[in-house]
Symmetry: C2
Subunit: 95 residues, 2 copies
């Protein structure tokens, strides 16, 4: 694994490796329909601005994707992409 790939992997894992962000992921995991930020606020007891920032990080790392819907922005989980990355790493480590 070269250094660029290593940095990307680290960033991805870091995005998931924070309690409130993982709570957001967990919440989205249980929802079939995309959720807006206000709704997601409920699962982790932090300010809406904090949720906004966490969602930004998760979006940048490809963990979630955003769609405009009315005046809301709804988020959903990139399930298969996350799973693929995690499994790929598992495969590499198990060798």
């Amino acid at each position: 694994m070269n250094s660029t790939k290593r940095q990307e992997t680290a960033d991805f894992l870091k995005a998931l490796g924070e309690y409130n962000r993982l709570s957001l992921v967990n919440e989205l995991c249980q929802c079939n329909a995309p959720q807006n930020a206000m709704c997601l606020c409920d699962c982790c007891s932090v300010d809406s601005s904090v949720v906004s920032r966490h969602l930004k990080v998760l979006t940048q790392e490809g963990v979630v994707r955003m769609e405009r819907k009315g005046r809301e922005r709804v988020y959903s989980l990139n399930r298969s992409e996350i799973a693929r990355k995690l499994r790929s790493l598992a495969d590499q480590i198990e060798g």
Copy 2:
């Protein structure tokens, strides 16, 4: 996923989600024989004390295991455990 499990998962991912720590993991991944800290120093250009601290984090999170060997302490990767955790998370997320 309950909050305790979520915290554990976050800690595990955080341990892997740092560039130099991931470099150590990568290095150990390519070695069949366990490596000591001095040797592992070479793969990430930081002080040996820093390597020592990173290895402590990785040990606490079950990523690596340590064995005394002479006056050295040699580390090896808990390959199957890491892979199991990553795949378990992947499964959960893919639903």
